[in-house]
């Protein structure tokens, strides 16, 4: 482990699916001597890339869980988190960005800035992560890195500037010209590991000079010294230019762009150089925790290893040796044998084995200091928990976790599968906060919920493979919600005096729609019309009506209930009587408040070859989709639409057959919108027939 914190980089690799993140990470590990052979994603050798450690990932060629690993480059230690490229697993990307100090945004030189690059970029903005961009696949037909730089500027608003230019493109990609040293760099040997530096070829000299001028121009905003040197036209020292680019990158006001081909092993060493040169060390990033004792006020951490511990568990994995907890230390240090507090539970935990991860292999270490990433064994916690030294009450900023939008019923086929399924669900829900599970009171079935069809499919598949659980799945169901549309008053008396103790409670008030909260209860009762000790029973009574709305039996959201009058009886009133009165009042007013059903609407972006764009638009239109727009990029058109989730089941199969497998789409939750009347009737029928 490198003990100089300034030489540590915690970086993530984020990008659109299939733009080559895993291949790139594999090259990093090879060049930093962490692995001794390169395996490809979907490799013919049947091994698969090292970072895709799950069998399913190897088969599908996608990265699902972010594996953390570390490597050493020159005198720097780099911790890498390989992040998933599919939007359905966005929580993984978000978590990774929360713990990282910098990122490499990988873009395809043919596809350019694609839909998910935009999502990932927004996430980077949210967590203020500085980044460099790597334009990959410059060896592919149609490669145009400068078009991608333009897209970075136009679509993502990055102040992107090339610090390299390619020597040749497509099949003729030979090497890279470094615009800082103004040298041509070639990558010899089977895996491009032998670097050869040469003079810039004459044919490219003019372009290189022009692009370097652009680079100096962009960087000079961040350094007066560089501006002076540029004006006086004196020779600019490399370090001066490097420092200026670094300043711009750290402020997120400049995005240096490197280019090459991970598959052809061209330019990889220069990405590692750029990551160490331009991305921040943990000491250069302000990390803010929430002070629980001070109403969650922001609290800036010192980042010093001598101070009390603050660490975040950002990922859990269940391996053969038990639960593995990935952890980032923000302040202080975690030592083997030490004790710390889990802020969420208040429980004291003892630190046992500490390791540093290299994909699915590990190395034992004695401690993890501030700024470093490692993993712990035998710690009972969930993803997102904060660990602190005794006496501190800080929590790391809560992560943005979206509500699940789709559910699926699952049933084990036999008894053996039943216990394994429970184990699997326990692990998955701890690992992934967007994946939830519960047992339906009515049907007794286990229901799993998540962020999309693929999200749930992957977990079902993992149960089959990793836990040998045979499962029968039901039809996916959409998380509809009920809400009201107008203000309505209620005045309800609950009275029961037939035998035994009587019950009496009167509640009056009104319910109204709200848009920014699920449920608000306000007590405006004056003069003790309802005794204070029964107010909470009233709230409880209303709350109990929300889980299953009277309209369509879906949860009720966006409702505010105000009570302003009532009556009680000295003998017959009780908590139970007021809860019953609240339920009666709710039913009395609910239908008058014109309830409606809301459904989740997804933002769908389909990237399709030009010739299929008409068919794709037609298919989205058929699915009640509202097409927001299309972007024609020459050969490829990206179509953006808002489509109800209920209409998107099985769309991946449909789009594959419609476009000969040439189109791909991403889908993410956008908003809840009212279900149209015609569709509402169909849902009503389904509920009645129980299908």
């Amino acid at each position: 482990m490198n003990t100089i914190i300034q030489k540590v980089r915690n970086i993530g690799i984020s990008a659109h699916i299939d733009s080559g993140k895993t291949t790139l990470t594999e090259r990093f590990l090879y060049l930093t001597k962490k692995i001794h052979r390169i395996h490809e994603v979907k490799g013919k050798d049947g091994i698969g890339a090292t970072m895709d450690s799950m069998e399913l990932e190897k088969e599908r060629g996608i990265t699902i869980a972010s594996a953390a690993t570390y490597c050493q480059w020159k005198d720097h230690e780099i911790n890498i988190i390989d992040t998933p490229g599919h939007v359905d697993f966005t929580i993984e990307v978000e978590r990774a960005l929360r713990v990282l100090d910098g990122a490499i945004l990988v873009l395809c030189s043919v596809g350019g800035v694609q839909s998910q690059s935009i999502t990932v970029d927004q996430q980077m903005k949210r967590y203020q992560v500085p980044c460099i961009a790597f334009i990959n696949k410059c060896d592919r037909n149609g490669a145009d890195p400068f078009r991608v730089i333009d897209q970075l500027k136009e679509k993502l608003n990055h102040n992107a500037v090339a610090i390299q230019i390619p020597i040749g493109l497509e099949a003729d990609l030979d090497g890279i010209i470094d615009l800082i040293s103004m040298k041509a760099i070639y990558f010899d040997g089977e895996f491009g590991d032998i670097i050869r530096t040469d003079e810039i070829p004459n044919s490219l000299l003019e372009t290189a000079i022009e692009k370097r001028e652009e680079l100096v121009d962009a960087a000079s905003i961040f350094s007066d010294e560089l501006t002076e040197a540029a004006i006086e036209e004196v020779e600019i020292p490399d370090q001066l230019l490097l420092d200026a680019i670094r300043q711009g990158t750290l402020k997120r006001e400049l995005t240096p762009v490197v280019m090459g081909s991970a598959y052809k092993n061209k330019g990889i060493q220069l990405i590692l150089d750029a990551a160490t040169q331009f991305l921040p060390s943990p000491m250069e990033v302000d990390n803010v925790a929430l002070n629980i004792d001070d109403n969650e006020a922001p609290f800036t951490l010192t980042g010093k290893k001598e101070d009390p511990l603050v660490a975040l568990a950002f990922k859990l994995e269940d391996g053969q040796y038990g639960q593995l907890t990935y952890i980032r230390v923000y302040q202080g240090k975690l030592m083997k044998g030490d004790s710390c507090i889990n802020v969420r539970t208040g429980k004291k935990i003892k630190i046992g084995r500490i390791v540093q991860m290299h994909a699915d292999q590990m190395e034992d270490v004695e401690k993890i200091e501030a700024g470093y990433i490692g993993a712990l064994f035998g710690v009972d916690c969930v993803s997102g928990d904060t660990f602190v030294s005794p006496g501190l009450n800080l929590s790391m900023t809560s992560m943005h976790i979206p509500d699940p939008v789709i559910s699926l019923s699952i049933k084990p086929k036999d008894n053996a599968s039943e216990s394994n399924m429970a184990k699997a669900l326990n692990r998955f829900t701890k690992e992934d906060p967007t994946f939830t599970t519960f047992v339906s009171n009515e049907t007794g079935e286990t229901i799993i919920s998540g962020m999309g069809e693929l999200h749930l499919e992957v977990y079902v598949e993992r149960m089959r493979r990793e836990y040998k659980t045979e499962i029968v799945t039901g039809e996916p169901s959409v998380a509809y919600r009920e809400t009201i549309t107008r203000l309505t008053e209620f005045d309800y008396i609950h009275k029961k005096q037939t035998g035994g103790a009587g019950q009496f409670g009167r509640i009056a008030g009104f319910m109204e729609p709200i848009s920014d909260d699920n449920f608000v209860f306000e007590n405006k009762v004056t003069g003790g019309a309802i005794p204070t000790q029964y107010i909470s029973a009233c709230e409880k009574g209303f709350l109990s009506c929300l889980s299953k709305g009277p309209f369509m039996k879906y949860p009720v959201t966006g409702i505010k209930i105000t009570i302003n009058d009532g009556a009680s009886h000295s003998v017959d009133s009780s908590e139970m009587a007021f809860q019953a009165a609240a339920r009666g009042a709710f039913l009395q007013a609910y239908f008058k408040a014109q309830p409606v059903l809301h459904e989740p609407i997804m933002k769908v972006v389909v990237e399709t070859p030009d010739e299929f764009q008409g068919n794709v638009m037609g298919s989205l239109n058929q699915r009640r989709g509202m097409i927001i727009g299309s972007h024609d990029m020459g050969q490829i058109t990206a179509i953006e639409a808002q489509v109800p989730l209920a209409e998107m089941f099985g769309y991946s199969t449909i789009i594959r057959s419609m476009t000969q497998g040439k189109a791909q789409f991403t889908m993410e939750f956008s908003s809840y919108k009212q279900v149209p009347k015609s569709v509402l009737e169909e849902i009503e029928k389904k509920i009645k027939t129980g299908t």
Binding site: M617, M626, I627, G629, S630, D632
Partner: protein, 236 residues
């Protein structure tokens, strides 16, 4: 209700009156200015004015992405509805968006034959039947005049009102009137109306030329630099 109020307070109504309705009905028009003066926001106001009258708008942008165009609409719409209730505005906005289709092209991938095919496809499949087409960011030179003439016939046969933005270069702007007359001379056969946006002191003046008659200067219209909305200066 809000829609009615917006129709009544529509900033474009001055222009509608001044141009004998040429601005809306079957028009083939252009908004000309140098870069950064407000062509897009002007076109977006024409679009929103049509949307609130239940006319569907196809917004073509060359170079700018869908999100950016959408931001223009959101911005102008929020200025227009600032004094109204948020809930009503939100509902109206959702309604308007369903009547709008943004189609963007990379500069090199745009051509009129492709655009015509796209419009026909949208209409045939009943995905979107536009009444107004906005074409923003097209580079104007003599080479496209024939294509424009051809597109004009297409627009007429499909009953489309069409508005273009025309970017003028700084060196062409030494004398605005001379320049406009020159442009108008070249394009008057093509466009029914040409609107020119001219920065003057702290305001952006709106001037126009039509084939019917030159009724310029009847009203003093300008773009408010704070909101980019069309306003009338009553002082004049």
């Amino acid at each position: 209700m809000l829609k009615k109020k917006l129709i009544l307070s529509d900033p474009l109504k001055f222009l509608v009156q001044e141009t004998n309705n040429e601005i809306i009905n079957g028009c083939f028009g252009a908004v000309a200015s140098r870069a950064g003066v407000g062509k897009t926001s002007f076109l977006v106001q024409i679009a929103i004015s049509s949307l609130i009258k239940e006319k569907k708008v196809l917004h073509i942008s060359i170079q700018n992405p869908v999100d950016k165009i959408n931001l223009w609409y959101q911005e102008i719409f929020s200025h227009l509805t600032r004094q109204f209730e948020t809930k009503q505005s939100k509902q109206l906005w959702e309604h308007l968006v369903s009547h709008r289709f943004i189609m963007t092209f990379e500069t090199e991938s745009f051509d009129f034959s492709k655009l015509k095919t796209r419009i026909e496809e949208l209409k045939t499949q009943n995905i979107f039947v536009p009444h107004l087409v906005i074409i923003d960011g097209l580079s104007f030179d003599e080479s496209i005049l024939t294509e424009l003439d051809d597109f004009k016939k297409f627009a007429k046969s499909h009953d489309l009102t069409t508005w273009f933005s025309v970017r003028m270069h700084r060196h062409q702007m030494s004398d605005n009137n001379e320049m406009m007359e020159q442009i108008y001379g070249q394009l008057s056969d093509l466009f029914n109306i040409i609107i020119q946006l001219v920065p003057e002191k702290e305001q952006i003046q709106i001037k126009w030329f039509t084939r019917v008659k030159d009724i310029n200067n009847h009203r003093n219209l300008f773009l408010d630099p704070a909101t980019m909305l069309i306003k009338e200066n009553p002082a004049r």
